[in-house]
C-alpha cells in the first residue's frame, strides 16, 4: 500500500513536470491561426532560413563526423597521456555559455586569424557566411556525437575486432566491417543529437552571423522588431519542420535497432 502511495506521488510529480514542457509548446501551437501559419510558410525569408538552418546543421554534422567518429574509436580503445583532459575539453562546449562559445569561435575564424586568412585566400569570409554558421553549430554540438560514438565503440567487444584480425583482415577493414557496423546504432543516435543541437543553436550563431539568418535568429529578429504575434507563427513552423525531421530519423534508428 505504502509503495503504491509512493508511485502515485512520483507519477503526479512527473506529470506536472511533463505539463511544464508540453503546455508552452501546445500553447504556442494554438497561438497562431491556420491562415497566418499558411502565410508565414509561404514567406521566402522563412523558407530560406529553414533551409539554411537544416542545411548548415546537416553539413556540419556530416563533415565533422568524418573526423569525430574515428577519433571516438581511438578514445574507446586506447589509453594515452592526457586522455582525461582531452575528454574534458570535448565536453567543454556543453558547459560554457553559448554566447561565449560564439565569441570563442569568432576569435578563431575572424579575418585577422590564420583560419580567417585562409578563408580570405580562397575568396570568402567565414563571418556572415553559412560556413561560419556551420562552424558555430558544430562547435556547440560536437560533444554529443563524440560521446555517443565513443559509448558505441566501447560497447563493441574488443575480442570481435581481435577475431577479425586473426581472420586476416587489415585494421582498416576491421574498423569498417566490424567496429563501425556494431557501433552504428549509437553513432546514428549521436548524429541525430548533434544535428538537432546544431539546428537549435542561437547564441553562438548570432555572434558569427546575423545574416544570412538561420531560423532561431529570424524568430528573435521578428520578436524584437515586430513583437510576439509575429514571432509565434515562425516558431510553430520551425518546430513542426523539426518534429517531422526527427520522426523520420527516429524511425530510421528504430529500423537499425531491429536489424
Amino acid at each position: 500500500m505504502k509503495k503504491l502511495g509512493l508511485q502515485w506521488t512520483f507519477s503526479i510529480l512527473g506529470g506536472m513536470m511533463l505539463l511544464f514542457v508540453i503546455a508552452p509548446v501546445l500553447g504556442l501551437m494554438f497561438s497562431s491561426s491556420p491562415a497566418s501559419l499558411f502565410e508565414t510558410a509561404k514567406d521566402p525569408e522563412v523558407k530560406n532560413s529553414i533551409m539554411l538552418t537544416l542545411g548548415t546543421s546537416m553539413a556540419g554534422t556530416l563533415l565533422f563526423a568524418l573526423a569525430a567518429v574515428p577519433f571516438s574509436w581511438i578514445l574507446a580503445r586506447y589509453t594515452f597521456p592526457f586522455k582525461k583532459l582531452i575528454m574534458a575539453i570535448i565536453d567543454l562546449p556543453v558547459v560554457i555559455p553559448h554566447s561565449a562559445a560564439g565569441i570563442a569561435v569568432l576569435g578563431f575564424i575572424s579575418r585577422d586569424t590564420l583560419v580567417g586568412r585562409a578563408g580570405s585566400a580562397v575568396g570568402f569570409n567565414f563571418v556572415g557566411h553559412p560556413a561560419g554558421i556551420m562552424l558555430a553549430m558544430a562547435f556547440v554540438s560536437l560533444p554529443y556525437l563524440i560521446n555517443a560514438a565513443r559509448d558505441g565503440f566501447i560497447s563493441v567487444p574488443e575480442r570481435l575486432e581481435k577475431a577479425a584480425l586473426t581472420l586476416g583482415a587489415s585494421p582498416v577493414r576491421v574498423f569498417f566491417t566490424v567496429s563501425l557496423p556494431l557501433a552504428w546504432k549509437n553513432i546514428l543516435s549521436g548524429l541525430i543529437l548533434m544535428f538537432a543541437r546544431g539546428m537549435s543553436e542561437f547564441g553562438a550563431v548570432i555572434i558569427i552571423a546575423y545574416h544570412p539568418m538561420i531560423t532561431p535568429v529570424l524568430i528573435y529578429e521578428r520578436f524584437t522588431s515586430f513583437g510576439l504575434k509575429y514571432a509565434q507563427p515562425v516558431s510553430v513552423i520551425f518546430i513542426l519542420v523539426v518534429l517531422v525531421f526527427f520522426m523520420i530519423l527516429r524511425l530510421l534508428l528504430s529500423k537499425t535497432n531491429k536489424s
Binding site: 581481435k162 577479425a164 584480425l165 586473426t166 581472420l167 586476416g168 583482415a169 587489415s170 557496423p181
Partner: protein
C-alpha cells in the same frame, strides 16, 4: 613446426616469462594451467595480437616474431567464439576469404560447413544459435583459412558434459585430418583425453612439458602433481636402513619404497587407488602399514575420496561399498596399506 624461444611479455597485469617450446607438425599440444597462469596471453602472442617483449617465434623455420597478425597463417578460436553478431553464419565464414572469387568462396563454405555439420545454419544469425553451434561456426570460420596452426582458447569451458564429449570428438576429428593444434585448458582430464603433448603453466612459466605419460607419471613438482589431479605428492628424502630405502617426508611420514640412494632428495607419489584401507593391521605383501585419522569423506564420480591425516594428509580412493562395509566415518582411526612398488619416488 612452431618454435618459441625465450618469449617474454608483460601485458595488462599478465606476464609470461622465458617461454620456450616446440610444436611439431600434426601435434595436439595442450597448455594446461590455472586461470591467470598466462595461457591466453601466450596464445595471443603466438597469434600476433600482441608482440612479445623479447624472444623469437618461428613458424616452419621463418621468424614471425614481428610479422603482422594477418600474415601469420595462425588461426585463433576464442573462448566465447567471437562470432560477428551482425553477419549471418555464411558471411562470418566468408570473412577470412576476402578477395577470393565468389565461386571459390561458396565452394569452400559448402565443404567446410558440411565437414563441421553446420550446412543448415548458413543463413542464420548467430543470436539464433546455441553455444555448441556457435563453437562449430567459430571452428569453421577459422579452419576455412587453412591455418598452419589452430589455437583454441578453453574450447570446452562452460559446456555441459554431453556437449563436451561431442566437441572433443570433433576436435579429434580435426586433429586426425592433420591439423596442428595448440589448446589451452585448465582441465587435466581434457588434456589427457586430447593432447599428445602437454605443457603445464603457472604464473607465466612453463613448469613441465612432455608427453601426457611423462607429465602424469613423473610430475616435476607439487604444483604440477596437484594440478594434474595427483593428491598424494610430498617432498621427501631417502634414508637407507639396513640397506632398505625409506622415503621420509617433512611431516615425518616414513614410506618404504622399492629402490633409491641414501640422502637422495625428491618426491614420493602415491595414487589414491593404490592405498588399501583396513580396520586393523593386515598380514599382507604390502610393506607399508600405518595408521591415520579420517579427516574428511568426499564423494567422487567413481566412489569416495577419504582424506586421512598421518603425518601427511593422504587421499585414498575407495568404492562406495567399501565405505559402507567398513563403516568409515570422520574421526575414525584407520590402517593404510601401501605396496612399496606402488610408491613412486621422483628425484629432483
Amino acid at each position: 613446426m612452431l618454435k618459441l624461444t625465450r618469449i617474454n611479455k608483460d601485458f595488462k597485469g599478465f606476464r609470461i616469462s622465458d617461454i620456450s617450446f616446440t610444436v611439431e607438425k600434426g601435434d595436439y599440444f595442450i597448455l594446461l594451467g590455472p586461470s591467470g597462469a598466462g595461457k591466453s596471453l601466450l596464445l595471443e602472442t603466438i597469434a600476433g595480437l600482441v608482440y612479445s617483449d623479447s624472444g623469437t617465434i618461428e613458424l616452419n623455420g621463418r621468424d614471425i616474431t614481428r610479422v603482422p597478425i594477418q600474415q601469420r597463417k595462425i588461426g585463433l578460436v576464442f573462448q566465447d567464439h567471437a562470432i560477428f553478431p551482425h553477419m549471418k553464419v555464411k558471411k562470418n565464414m566468408a570473412y577470412a576469404l576476402h578477395g577470393q572469387n565468389r565461386a571459390t568462396v561458396n565452394q569452400k563454405i559448402r565443404s567446410m560447413s558440411s565437414k563441421l555439420g553446420i550446412p543448415e545454419m548458413l543463413d542464420r544469425y548467430p543470436s539464433t544459435l546455441s553455444g555448441g553451434e556457435l563453437q562449430r561456426v567459430a571452428l569453421a570460420r577459422t579452419l576455412i583459412q587453412e591455418p598452419e596452426i589452430l589455437l583454441l582458447d578453453e574450447p570446452l569451458a562452460f559446456m555441459d558434459s554431453r556437449l563436451k564429449s561431442g566437441t572433443r570428438a570433433l576436435l579429434r576429428q580435426i586433429h586426425r585430418g592433420g591439423q596442428t593444434i595448440i589448446h589451452v585448458t585448465h582441465d587435466y582430464e581434457e588434456a589427457l583425453s586430447l593432447g599428445n603433448r602437454i605443457a603445464v603453466m603457472d604464473h607465466g612459466n612453463i613448469l613441465q612439458s612432455g608427453t601426457p605419460d611423462e607429465v602424469f607419471h613423473s610430475p616435476r613438482n607439487g604444483f604440477v602433481a596437484h594440478f594434474i589431479g595427483i593428491r598424494n605428492f610430498f617432498p621427501a628424502t631417502i634414508r637407507l636402513r639396513n640397506g632398505i630405502p625409506w622415503a621420509e617426508t617433512a611431516g615425518n611420514l616414513k614410506i618404504r619404497i622399492h629402490e633409491g640412494q641414501d640422502n637422495e632428495k625428491g618426491f614420493v607419489m602415491i595414487r589414491g587407488e593404490d592405498i588399501v584401507l583396513s580396520a586393523s593391521a593386515l598380514d599382507s605383501s604390502a610393506c607399508n602399514g600405518f595408521t591415520g585419522k579420517v579427516q574428511e569423506i568426499t564423494a567422487t564420480p567413481i566412489g569416495y575420496d577419504i582424506c586421512i591425516e598421518s603425518g601427511e594428509t593422504l587421499h585414498a580412493l575407495i568404492t562406495r561399498e567399501s565405505v559402507k562395509k567398513m563403516n568409515i566415518h570422520e574421526g575414525m582411526e584407520i590402517w593404510l596399506n601401501i605396496k612399496a612398488t606402488a610408491v613412486k619416488f621422483i628425484d629432483e
